[in-house]
Symmetry: C2
Subunit: 468 residues, 2 copies
């Protein structure tokens, strides 16, 4: 659908060879870590370090200049100070390199000199047609091609099905570190936008719209470069693929911080809100919601509606979590008589069974696995329920069941997402997470998170129906 | 101030001896685990298991009946089914036991038979003057006296300075398990209210108001038994000790769940909101907020205002977290020129320094410890700042500093709370938490949590000024 964009940007994501301009032999330096990341990801293309000193870096011969690079280099990753960057871009264009990713900060987000340097980049782009990512980015990544321009030490980036468009360097620095060390999902593409002298949110969205590797799109934006076009593209794409976005600079104080950060004049927030709603983008409120959304979208299908069935080990939890569901826009429906009858069958008589399900009596009398398994299946079978959240109570003393039954239920009811929450011992939660998440059952250590994640999924489903 | 209440309830919290009515020799049964909990807490008083079968349980001789108990038993923990509970209470009163804690559910929260049994308890209370906790509780606890009536396997309950009033059994079951396994703070008293046939939220609050072991009060309520009296007591107490409360049943659907849970007719929520505000109680929204509040109130002093200085390793984080602060009612003030000058001294020139502080450039150039230490101290010294939140970026590759400098800063600036957040590697966050929290520096694994906790503390401070 967006063929021109696809064609124009593909070398960024499927480069057959890459030059690292500003390569370094010093561990810890960006020009060294970028090469190390490529090697850690087993990038199969050619890597050409460029540094006037020559020699060898990480086993690769160093080219003395951009001019001496061989023909056919697809992408240059330019890791030079801001003042040296425009000249390097010009040399890349002269050498026939069509795509560059510019890492340096110090452009329009900092001072007048930076504004001038950024204007020079714009001139070069106009004159040469070179495509530019950045400047002021922490890189980009394309896991299906084992490729990244990230210069922050990351190691192997886990492959996944969601892609990220980020007007921040976080996603290929500490946030990716957290995802790689604390989570089990991966990413398909990560596109750092930075100061957006060329590639902007519209290009990135168009590219991902037609990308078969991308099933959902996670966005962090501080400003819109082409709001009208973005609106119309998003409206079309959001019916095919979920798009969630954290648009920051929502408050006056936040906007001030945004100006200091990427020289973006944050747009009036209420306008943004209406615009995103109309375009079918699910707007998030907190940074952590980006992680919740990415995890849930990576692991489970969208629910067919907003009706949740849940099980918790305490009456008080049923109450507070019902309050939470209502606040989040999730419905906690009255289930069918058949479901209620089944819930009573699996429970001792002194608990009134309904949705939400007070499951601990059954778990105590019949075993934790039996209680949760039968309770979950009763809800999964119920036609009034779109998704199921079990709050598993796990303690060493009450026993940790094998968790295969949850994987089995997810396979037998593939249309209804299961999102798992916890109460009890912290180490048992970790154990359960480590078992379930590699099997595509998302788990959430904070009690409210599975519901927050589900609410995001339900809004994505609504957006895909075009109800906006 | 509440001498009568204090005198009347003290035996619940400082019992010299305790009877377990319904003691069991079977591991896993409540009547066994209650004794095991007392032993695990090294309760120094006499423990008298009561069971008609006699014999010995966990090394203790079993009394055949309540009537054969020795004189002077302070508290009876009654772990019998609902239908047998009233008769046991009557026998306790006859034997001269003035205080009983009733564990059984199955009273007014379940059916008509339960309502009758509960009415019988009321009659006994009226006739004998016996004081009753419950029924339908998971116990109570008093760590300064190494005492608990909890029957859920807990082991040693960590001693602390906050106390909990809970109209739910969660706090001495899975929530306490989580606190004991995943957190480092402890509790002073935990008072389960259950169906409140006698001891209610007013009694509990009056007791804790004058309790020297209790510095802050955490409440979970589903209903008010004596709203007017509660309001007036809370208004007085909240100027002396912070009171935070999760009042559930906020939404219509939540109220329905509450009726099923503790037979409480949840009060119209907006009335509750106004009432709590006037009484100086800080109302919480989510269950997890109870944990955040308990942790923060356990470890740091209240800030003298709502003005936060914070440091983060990314420009985007500064923006989203400033948005968050504004939403939470925290101010992110412009710091003094002196502070700005100091921040510029510790940073390379290409970053504009202000509050919030973009600290990663300094950390990269000067080391993680130097950057955060000097940045935090600049904020702590600033008279416009009431509290400091560092978002520590910790990865194995960028280096984990020793964290003593944070403990040192907390000691040198004791009036300004420091709440620590994280980004980066999950295991590094765990390591930092394990070091800092036993030294009374609270840490929070989810990015938004230190700000949420600080906002609660700031609202507590405001309430203590009587500004409500």
């Amino acid at each position: 659908m967006y063929d021109a964009t696809k064609q124009s940007l593909t070398p960024f994501f499927e480069p057959r060879s890459v030059a690292i301009v500003g390569a370094s032999g010093t561990p810890g330096k960006a020009g060294y870590e970028a090469i190390r990341n490529l090697q850690a990801n087993a990038y199969p293309g050619h890597i050409y370090p460029v540094n006037p000193r020559g020699g060898e870096i990480l086993g690769l011969p160093v080219m003395a200049s951009i001019g001496t690079l061989p023909d056919g280099v697809d992408v240059a990753i330019i890791i030079l100070p801001a003042e040296a960057t425009p000249q390097a871009v010009r040399e890349c264009a002269s050498r026939g390199i069509g795509h560059v990713a510019l890492m340096a900060g110090g452009f329009a987000e900092v001072d007048e000199t930076g504004v001038e340097a950024q204007n020079e980049l714009l001139t070069i782009i106009r004159e040469t047609g070179i495509r530019v990512l950045g400047p002021n980015i922490s890189g980009h990544a394309s896991t299906p091609q084992s490729y990244t321009s990230a210069f922050f030490p990351l190691g192997k980036i886990r492959r996944g099905t969601v892609s990220v468009i980020a007007q921040t360097g976080n996603f290929l620095t500490h946030t990716m570190r957290y995802i790689l060390t604390g989570e089990h999902f991966g990413v398909a593409r990560v596109i750092g936008l930075g100061n957006k002298v060329d590639v902007d949110e519209v290009d990135a969205l168009e590219y991902l719209a037609d990308d078969p590797e991308t099933s959902a799109i996670i966005m962090y934006l501080e400003s819109f470069k082409r709001p009208a076009r973005f609106l119309s593209v998003a409206r079309e794409v959001s019916r095919r693929k979920p798009i969630v976005m954290l648009k920051s600079g929502m408050t006056e104080a936040g906007k001030q911080a945004a100006v200091a950060h990427t020289a973006a004049m944050a747009t009036e927030d209420r306008l943004v809100d209406g615009m995103l709603r109309q375009s079918g983008i699910v707007r998030l409120e907190e940074y952590t919601d980006l992680i919740l959304a990415a995890k849930a979208l990576s692991m489970v299908p969208l629910p067919k509606g907003n009706r949740v069935g849940f099980l918790a080990p305490s009456g008080a939890m049923l109450v507070v979590l019902t309050d939470l569901c209502v606040r989040l826009g999730l419905e906690v429906p009255t289930v069918t008589d058949e479901t209620v009858a089944r819930l009573h069958e699996i429970s001792p008589p002194y608990i009134r069974m309904r949705n939400p399900v007070d499951i601990w009596a059954s778990a105590t009398v019949n075993g934790v696995e039996f209680g949760y398994r039968e309770g979950m299946e009763a809800l999964l079978k119920d036609p009034t329920i779109d998704a199921v959240v079990p709050i598993l109570m796990l303690t060493r003393d009450t026993g940790i069941p094998p968790f295969d039954f949850i994987v089995d239920l997810a396979q037998r009811y593939p249309e209804k997402p299961i999102l798992v929450g916890f109460s009890g011992d912290a180490d048992c939660m970790e154990e359960c997470k480590a078992f379930l998440e590699p099997r595509n059952i998302p788990t959430f250590p904070v009690l409210e998170q599975p519901f927050k994640a589900l609410a995001i999924l339900a809004r994505c489903h609504e957006a895909m129906l075009g109800n906006h």
